[in-house]
Structures are given as C-alpha cells and as structure tokens.
Symmetry: C2
Subunit: 557 residues, 2 copies
C-alpha cells in the first residue's frame, strides 16, 4: 500500500508560482509612472466593487480593488474572453492577465487594464451576498466582521491602523527603545482596580472528569479495602523473606510486587477521590487545582511588568492587547483593546512629557506622509477636520499646564455649564478635557501634577504631598489620548502608598524589589491604540477601528 501511495503522491506536481502586481503600484504613482506602465502585461487580482456590461453585452467594465490601496483599477473584459455575467456582481473575486492601457482622453482614470485572460473567478450570487450595496452603515457592517474589510471605510481604517502600528515601532526604535512582550495571562493586578477576566482550565477539566467518571465508574470502598489488604499481605511477604534470609533476587522480586500493589492503590484512591464539578476546598473554589496553581487573569496593563525590563534595559515599550471585564456598552469601551506602553529609565516627568509629545507628533506626521488617500477619504466622508487636526498636532508645541491651573481655568469658564462640578480634587471628565484642548487652547494640552487621591499608587508623590507626578495628554476630538507618570522609585514612599490604597504588600513584593535593589527614577505612559485610530480617522465608535471588536454579549469569530 505505501508503494501505491508513494507513486501517486510523487506525481502530485506543484502549481507554479505566479507574480501578482499590486493595484497600488499601478495607480499609486504619478503621471510619469503611469506613462511607463502603459503597454506592460500584468497579472492583477482583486474583488469587484462595481461591474457593468456595456456595448450591448460585448464587453464589461469592472472596478477592481485588491486592498493594497483605496483606489480601484478599471478593468475591461471582452465577452469573447469570459462570460461577463459571471464577473460583474459586486464581491466577485477575479485574477486576470492583461495589458495596461491609456484610456481615452477625458476619462477620470489615468490607466486601465485590458484583459487577455481571466485566470480565476470566485463568483458571487448577488441575491445572497450580505454586502451587495456600496453604502452601508457602520452599524450594519458590525454584524459582518468577516466581510466588512471589503468596504472602502473599513479597509481605509485598517490601513491607517497598520501605518500607526508600524510608525509606533519605528518611533521607539529610532529612540533606542526595545520591544518587550509583557504577559497576557497575569497573576498581578495593575491598579488594584479594574475588572479583570479570569483565565481558567477548571471548566474543561471538570468536563473531562465527568466524562471519565461516566465511562469508567470510580472504585467502591470495598475495592479500596481489598487493595489495602493486598499491600498488607505483600508487605508481610517481604518481611518474611527478609527474616528468613532469602536470596537478594527473591527479596527484590517481592519488593517489586509490593511497590506495584502500592501504585495500584494510589491510582484507585485518585479515582475514588475524583469528584465532578469545579474543585472546592473549605467551601470556596480550589484555585490551587487550576492550570497555574492559582487564580490567573487577563492583563489590564503591561506597565508593572515592563518596568522590570526598564530597570535593566533602560528604554523599553510594550505594545499588545489588554482587557477589561466592564459591562460598558458605550462607543468608547471595548473588552479587548491594544495599548502602547513605553517605560523609560532615568526619566522624570518632563522627559516623559517630551517623549509623549514627540511620539504623538511622529504618528500624525507619519499619517500625513504615508496615508494621503485614505485620510482624504476619511476627511471627505466622516470628519472634515481630520487632516487639519493631524497637521495641527504634528506642528504645534503642546500646551503644558498643571492640574491646578487647569481647574482654575475651568472654574472661570462662563460660556458653558459643565455636567460635572469643577473643583480641585475631582478627576477631569471628558467634557473638561475636551473644553481645555478644543476651546481654551485649540491645540493639544498636557495636564500634569494631579491630586494623589485620584491617581494610582505607583505614581511618584510630589514634595507638596498633595499631588503626584502624573500627566495626561489631551487632544481635540477624543480628549485623553495618553496617561502617564513618573513612577515612585522610593521604597518607603511606595510601601505607604500601596497600603494607603487599601492593597496588601504581598502581591507587589517583586515590584518593591525593583526599589530595594538598584532603584532608578523612571517614567512611562500608555496610549490607547484605538483612541489614536479614532483621533486619526474621525470615526466615533471604537468598535469600528479594531478588526474584531469584543464587548458585552459579543465576541464574533
């Protein structure tokens, strides 16, 4: 049989590789570039945005998009080349070979493709395709996360998101930072607050036990007794042989039987003690029997862990998913979202602000330089000010004011009534943040030195003992984009702050160790990546700027 298989399988020849040209490299260049392309034979693949038969069915125009850029390539297929009705439905996938041509004067395309051969077709039945129309609401599209990247809006958002991610890595690399993968599964809680998802294998373990017990009932007490008796007998046999000075071989054989009998009892007892359901101890769940031997959670921030690397490698950052189990149904909250968290050794609050400002400027500049068409699309369709906002932020020095000053300014506001009362000690609400950046300063604002009562324990206590060295970067459109602080590097102060926060020291011993041995002044911040995408694109709902949004009741795919 292997012989047959071998011959058959050896004959299985590989299909040769085929070079596909991205539509971006055809339509993305200037007029001169197009001039050079005309006459070239290329293979192009993509999905039909719109198709229409023309000239009484003698040929068809297809607007083809391959996701490499916003623009489509106009493709012309003659009826002799392929049955046109199979190509024109929106969503149809085609791979075609043809020659690039200059279209007639006066048409809006600078280049089009005359098809010589249709190589592959992935058809669509338009009566069943969920996205046959081109204009669909973002809300409607959320029910089709597996298709929505085929729309202009979501594909543009994804390209902008990709550029922001690459720009992030580039910025930090240029500034001497190393990328550290902090853990997703954690046994620490970053702030002693924040609702966390639990990670467990207890449910699946319980299912396994249940299944096992059904297939193979546990031993009875009398079976256990019999096994114990058996051990006793084997033990006596060993003792007898020893006292009667039997040969080594005889004794060792007998000992081996005793060992087997003991092992057999151990197995029986293990099965005897198997209980269906979640393991309990003293009336509560016995997490010692979970996968990690204790309760484990999804991280809410990589900051505390990345600090351990900052206290060794100097400048580091983490960029990864973080989680909140909050039953929040707003357009601003996700259960799973991405955070960028740099951490900088030998850096004080001012260094921290400098890095934050430079980073945000770099991102804005990057989008202006790399995402022209997609940004124009967003500006045209969703937020007229999107491009101006990028220009403003990338070129204007950020205002820097203390929290106390911010409160004074807000207290003096007369042209607006805030929903939340303004007074020293309060946390700034979104309405305050946006008023500061959008109305008072009309540019990004960094607010620093917040009251300690509203900030986390790890932020460095200022000499006034009332404020901590925290800072938030506020920008038009989204308000708080970045939150950061200088970290408390003094052991005794940190211990006091942990206890003041009502936390226990034990889970933070490793964090305190960083202050016990070679402590260093250091600072860091966190940027909510989806907020940055909202800021850039001008979209309003965070569920539209992450490929697979997770929120209460929904985790599609």
């Amino acid at each position: 049989m292997p012989g047959d298989d071998v011959t058959a399988a050896v004959d299985q020849v590989l299909e040769p590789s085929r070079h596909r040209t991205f539509i971006k490299s055809i339509v993305g260049g200037g007029a001169a570039a197009v001039e050079e392309l005309v006459g070239r034979k290329v293979v192009v693949g993509g999905w039909v945005k719109t198709g229409r038969e023309q000239g009484k069915g003698t040929f068809a125009f297809l607007e083809l998009n391959d996701g490499s850029c916003l623009a489509n390539l106009q493709v012309i297929v003659d009826a002799e080349v392929y049955p046109l009705s199979q190509l024109v439905a929106t969503g149809t996938c085609v791979l075609v070979e043809g020659v690039l041509k200059k279209p007639p004067e006066g048409t809006k395309q600078r280049v089009e493709l005359k098809v010589e051969q249709v190589l592959e077709v992935g058809p669509v039945d338009p009566s069943k395709y969920p996205l046959p129309k081109t204009r669909l609401t973002l809300e409607f599209l959320r029910d089709f996360v597996h298709f929505r990247a085929r729309t202009n809006t979501i594909s543009a958002v994804e390209r902008i998101r990709d550029e922001l991610a690459y720009a992030t890595h580039t910025f930090f690399r240029q500034n001497g930072f190393r990328y550290v993968h902090t853990p997703i599964i954690t046994t620490s809680d970053c702030e002693g607050a924040g609702e966390m998802f639990q990670v467990t294998a207890l449910f699946s373990d319980a299912e396994k036990v249940e299944k096992e017990l059904k297939q193979n009932p546990p031993p009875s007490e009398s079976e256990i007794e019999a096994a114990k008796l058996h051990i006793k007998e084997k033990g006596e046999a060993v003792a007898h042989l020893k006292s009667s000075k039997a040969t080594k071989e005889e004794i060792s054989a007998s000992v081996s039987e005793l060992t087997k009998a003991k092992e057999s009892l151990a197995k029986l007892e293990e099965r005897f003690n198997m209980k269906p359901g979640i393991p309990q101890k003293d009336g509560t769940i016995d997490y010692a029997r979970d996968f990690f031997g204790r309760q484990a959670f999804l991280t809410v921030s990589g900051q505390l862990q990345v600090e351990t690397y900052a206290c060794a490698l100097g400048n580091v950052y983490t960029f990864g998913p973080t989680f909140r189990a909050e039953h929040s149904h707003t357009s601003r909250h996700l259960a799973e979202f991405w955070m960028v968290e740099p951490e900088i050794a030998f850096a004080n609050l001012e260094d921290d602000m400098n890095y934050a400002e430079n980073y945000v400027k770099f991102l804005c500049r990057w989008l202006l330089d790399h995402c022209h068409d997609d940004m124009e699309f967003m500006a045209k369709n969703f937020d007229k000010t999107a491009i101006d906002r990028l220009k403003l932020v990338s070129s204007t020095p950020f205002e820097r004011i203390s929290y106390t000053m911010a409160v004074q300014l807000l207290e003096n506001v007369t042209d607006k009534k805030f929903e939340n009362k303004v007074e020293w000690g309060m946390d700034l609400a979104s309405e305050h943040e946006r008023y500061l950046t959008e109305v008072i300063f009309k540019k990004p604002v960094i607010v620093y030195n917040y009251p300690k009562g509203i900030k986390a324990f790890y932020m460095r206590l200022n000499d006034d003992k009332k404020t901590v060295a925290a800072m938030d970067v506020l920008v038009p459109k989204v308000g708080e984009l970045i939150g950061g602080s200088q970290r408390e590097e003094r052991l005794e102060v940190l211990v006091d702050r942990i206890l003041e926060a009502g936390l226990t020291l034990e889970p933070y011993e490793w964090y305190l160790d960083l202050r016990r041995y070679g402590t260093v002044k250091h600072s860091g911040f966190g940027l909510g990546f989806e907020r940055m995408v909202l800021f850039a694109t001008g979209l309003d709902n965070i569920r539209d700027v992450i490929p697979f949004p997770r929120y209460p009741g929904r985790a599609d795919l």
Copy 2:
C-alpha cells in the same frame, strides 16, 4: 481650602529634563568614533556589573551596563566625588556625569568615563540581592523573572528578540503586507483540537452576587406577593380612571404609578432569583449569562480570522500571543507564546514556500547585520554554531521535497535507529525532522504535500485525494520552524473536510462564507516566534527566550 491647595501645588516645579547618553553610542562605534568622543562631557546611567575599589580606596572602577548593548562602560570615580563603598556593589544603579577619556595604552577598553559628579544612586545590599554573582544558571534565573534581564544572557536574548520582531514587521511591510490585530478572546476554535483556556467573568460575578446577598438579603415570597397585589391595585385604578373618563393628566399619572410598581416588582424578582455560585441551566453551566453570552476562549491561532482580512486586503499578517492549555512540562512548550501568521491572497503552495523561505532568510540576515555582539556572546557561551547557522540559512536555497520523498529517504536510513517507526501516513517526529535537515541535507528543508489524515481540515486537498497542500520548514537545531498550507478555497470540498474531521458546520459558517462569496486561492503559514529565538540564540529551553514564561503551575508576575 482649594485656595491653599492651589498655591501649594502651583509651586510644585517640574524637575528639568536631562539628556542621557546611551552606552551603546559611546562604545558601539569604531576607533574613529571613539577618537571623536574623547573630551566630551556626558551623562550616563546604568547598573554596576562589577565594581572594585583601587589605590587603597582612593578611587573605584565600575563596569556600568545600561542595557542598550552588551558591552559595559568603564567608569572611574574618585573617593572625593562620592563614598565609593556605596557604588561598588553589583546591581547598584548610578547616574553620573563625567568626561570621556582615552585609557592608558595596553588596557582593553577604548574609552572610559572619568566621573565629575554622581547625580543619583540606587543602592544594593549585596547580602540580600538575589543576583550578586555574575554566573548563575538559567534555571536559577527563572525564579527571578523581574531581575533576570539584568544578566548578560537574558538581556542579549531580549535584544535579539526585539530585533527579530522589528525585522518581522519590516519584512512584511516591504512585501506589501498589512498588520492585522486578530482577537485574543475568541469564540472559534482554529483546529477543533488543541486545549484552550476559557475566559470568564462567571467567578467574579458569582462573588459579587454572594457579597450582595450577604449585605442585602433577597426578598421573601410574601414581599413578592405584596408587590404583585400592588400592581393589581394600580392596574385597577388605571382602568377605573379610563372608564370614568378622567382627564389625560390623571390617567397618565396613574399609568406612571403602575409602571413604577411593575419596575419595582421586576427588581424584587431579579433579587429573588439571585442564586449564589456559578449560574446553572438544565444541570450544566449557563454560559448565556457569562460576559459574552456564550463560552469564550483564548485563541490558539489567528489564522482563520486573519483569512477574512486576506480575502479583502490581499496580503496580511498577524503577530500576537497565542495559547495552549496543555499540561506540558517540556523545554519546548509554553502556555502563552507568540506567533507570526501571514496570509496571502492569490497565492498557491509554491508562493507560500517562497514567502516562508524569504522571511526566514531575511530574519537571519537581519541578525547578522544588527546583532553582532549579542550573537557573538551567544555563540561563545551557549552554541558555537549559532552564527554559522545564521550564515548558512541566510545564504543557502532551501531544499524542497515532498512528504513522500522524505519518508522514502528516512526509510533508507541505516546509520540511525528512530524511536518512532517510519511509514507513509505517519506524522514526522522531531527526530525525523532534524535528521532530514541536519544529517541528510545539512541545510533548511521544506517538506510539502502531507497525508491529509494528519493535517487540519482547512488545508487544500490535492488532486490525488490523499495529500493536502501543506508545507513545513525544517531547520537545524529546532526542526519544524514554520508550518503552512494553501487553504481549501472550494466550498464543497471544505464542507466535506469539516464533516470528515468530526466537526459541525455551524461554528464555521462565517469561514464558509468566505468561500461562498468571492472565494480566492490563498495560502499562509505560522512561525512560532520563540522557536525562532531558540534557533537564533542556540538556547535549549523555551522558558528562557520569552520575558515572562507561562507553563503549568507558573505564571509569575
């Protein structure tokens, strides 16, 4: 009171920013660069690797490392500048200002720093510091994940890991790929196999209910009855007003009272039905009451989800954490690890192999170009062949053989007895993979067209109906580095394969949709990122190449 606070807090002045020079930019250049640095005043910060008092305590040498590179900077401090005993302990953190000097002829350093001012010190009590010695086993260091990045080995590994991550983003960007963040929390299972961690809020919800019930006992049945009676009365009142043709205002006030009564009953009933413990329904856990309204898990692969973006944007990749809840205690398995998974539209198996080969070569070349010192360190201390391996892989075309050919070759092996029997249809074990790449070919090997029985349902069925268009990249040292395949794009074949695998169609409807509407030939692969770091560094235990290893019983920090 705010007045007082304001004055005090406004006075809190920011400490000015201070420019720190990375040690890498001092010692990392050539002789000419050093020449230029001599005489310059710089601020340098780092941790003392070794320190020793000299000249009868008149000065001290400190070997200072700041993590920017493997090399230390030699720092000289005079006793008049700072108490030397507080500086020399291993692990001490210092920030110093001084002048760069040329050391005396014949010393190994090319440049050293004469300190003028010690700006900051983070002391260490050497009798308590866990890592006072410079030579410690990797196993010992695993108990101190918060400090181990201060060692030469782990910091070198982390820099190599960082370079591999950046090289990954760079390679895919250069090849027109977009980075897609696939979800961590998923309701899909990639292969119908693979043990998954469950993500839940049921435990914390149950705790909340328990607490709530303790503080605030649920209503009694008679309270519920009273509330029902109350509604009845209010209902009758409304009816009476309506029939007696009361004014609109009177009726509407009465209706509003009825509504309130109904709401009040609903609240009571909700509390009446509150039960401590995990919610049950029909004898099993009621996951409809969990956060996402259904069971949710940690992803084992982003492949299926990233395919949805490949079928829209063309070339995409995901690079993120993945999870396995396997009780595996080997040096090759982690419960949390990172995967790179590109997915390519309009690509067949040969395209897939080409991308995989180019990617691995690119990574090796990148390390040779960017990690010279760290790679030399690994070669010297852990694996003499590490650099040669990178050179070999980056410059040699990979051998490509069918699975059938691989089995034939292994069947003919006479100089080695394999533990696992070689026969057509078996999965290749690590011993086979390593023999192929290390002994037979002495270079990377791509094995393709595997028996369908040992591969996942989504791999494309070949015309022989016995094999699928899968491929594995095998490299010396680690064996399988990459696994990939052309995906089944034909709807009917895919349906059959899912059912053959014993799975149900329902959870895969969205995946089938991709084949129903505009299906496209596409391929992809997955690279286990930690395997790549093992391959590069020559280390043996996967727990040493990820910053925070997670495995059964351990999830530190």
